[in-house]
């Protein structure tokens, strides 16, 4: 789980040992979805951060260790995915939106 994961965003230039990284990609029908909004919700469901996905459908958060929910919003679609983050590791999440 340490460092860059095949197909994931590069962690070059980031001190991964100090960070608690959650990252991944959003796809629909196997195609990357750029410009979707990914919201990071904490253990109580409270909003913590939000990023738009890149042109290649990728996103990244610098979180704290614990359980989180990723809520993805795109035109006509909303999807929640749970994720557990650990310091020093990259939690990689693939979000496939319903067609």
């Amino acid at each position: 789980m340490c460092g860059a994961v095949a197909g994931g965003l590069s962690t070059e230039g980031i001190d991964v040992s100090k960070e608690t990284i959650i990252q991944g990609s959003v796809t629909q029908g196997g195609q990357p979805v750029g410009g979707a909004y990914v919201r990071l919700l904490d253990g109580s469901g409270e909003f913590t951060a939000e990023v738009p996905t890149s042109a290649t459908g990728q996103f990244r958060f610098f979180a704290a260790p614990g359980s989180w929910t990723l809520r993805t919003l795109a035109p006509g679609a909303t999807l929640d995915r749970p994720v557990v983050a650990t310091q020093g590791q990259v939690a990689e999440v693939a979000v496939e939106l319903p067609a």
């Binding site: 980031i14 100090k18 960070e19 410009g35 909004y37 919201r39 990071l40 904490d42 109580s44 409270e46 909003f47 913590t48 951060a49 939000e50 990023v51 738009p52 990244r60 958060f61 610098f62 979180a63 704290a64 809520r71 919003l73 795109a74 035109p75 909303t78």
Partner: protein, 287 residues
């Protein structure tokens, strides 16, 4: 102020895209989204390079503000509509800065860029050209701007509203979770501040919640809306969003935005800090 005077809907913007007296401005800390596409006829303001003083850690001076608007073809007769990504945080900061300089005809697009995109409304790449105009600003309205001494004096007596996420408030995180966490300042919050994250004031699509829901949100957290209020966050943009909710949508009086926010307060020597998920006493400490 009220919701009707401070906010416009996406439908209203669509109906006014070709109105010469309406100037649409996309505002963000990073304007690459604008460069990719934007609402037709919108110009862009970059929060860093356009809306903050280039040397000091401050808002623009009156002269700089007038020069910015004039150069972008905005006159006092125009209606300015601000919108942006990041749930309108930086657009709300711009709105606050416009109000600081007495601009009356300024509005925020409810839901900002996100709502517009989620509705699959038109976005274009053409950049409009605007002829320079003359804009005359008022002196700064200090009644909506809190400096650090105002904040220290407010501990334990006025409403302090920390609008960051619960993990930033308690000290678990130092910055929003989409940013790296290396920071110089200490973690925690200003003692006695209530934690009412800005996000509770907005729906998932970035639009503001109803007046009744907003009023209930602050009152349920013990904020006496009859007292003076100071809102803060990390760099003053999320707290502009909450300042906007309280003063511009709900019409609450005596609300200030502390633009120094946690980057300033958390770096000060000799001030009380509270850690943990409790508001704490004026002396601060560890929960």
């Amino acid at each position: 102020m009220s919701r009707e005077s401070a906010l416009v809907t996406a439908d209203w913007v669509e109906e006014n895209l070709d109105n010469d007296n309406v100037v649409l401005i996309e505002v963000d800390e990073d304007t690459t989204a604008y460069d990719k596409n934007h609402i037709r006829n919108a110009i862009k303001f970059n929060w860093h390079t356009d809306l903050t003083e280039p040397v000091r850690h401050d808002v623009l001076t009156k002269d700089q503000f007038e020069a910015l608007l004039s150069a972008n073809g905005i006159s006092n007769d125009d209606t300015v509509v601000l919108y942006g990504g990041n749930n309108n945080w930086f657009a709300a900061y711009a709105y606050w800065e416009f109000k600081l300089y007495g601009v009356e005809n300024v509005k925020l697009l409810d839901g900002g860029r996100k709502k517009w995109e989620l509705d699959s409304r038109e976005l274009v790449t053409d950049v409009p050209t605007r002829q320079p105009a003359t804009f005359v600003a008022s002196e700064q309205d200090k009644s909506i701007h809190a400096l650090r001494d105002d904040v220290l004096a407010a501990i334990g007596s006025h409403n302090l509203v920390d609008v960051r996420s619960p993990d930033e408030y308690s000290g678990k995180l130092l910055a929003p979770a989409h940013l790296p966490q290396e920071q110089s300042q200490t973690a925690g919050h200003i003692p006695t501040a209530a934690n009412i994250p800005w996000s509770k004031a907005a729906n998932d699509d970035g639009t503001f919640r109803s007046d009744a829901e907003l009023k209930e949100l602050y009152e349920a957290e013990g904020v006496d809306l009859g007292k003076d209020t100071i809102a803060y966050c990390r760099i003053g943009e999320r707290s502009s969003h909450t300042w906007f909710v309280l003063q511009e949508i709900l019409g609450v009086e005596n609300v200030k935005n502390y633009d120094g926010s946690w980057t300033e307060y958390g770096s000060l020597i000799g001030v009380p800090v509270q850690l943990g998920a409790v508001a704490g006493s004026p002396a601060g400490g560890q929960a």
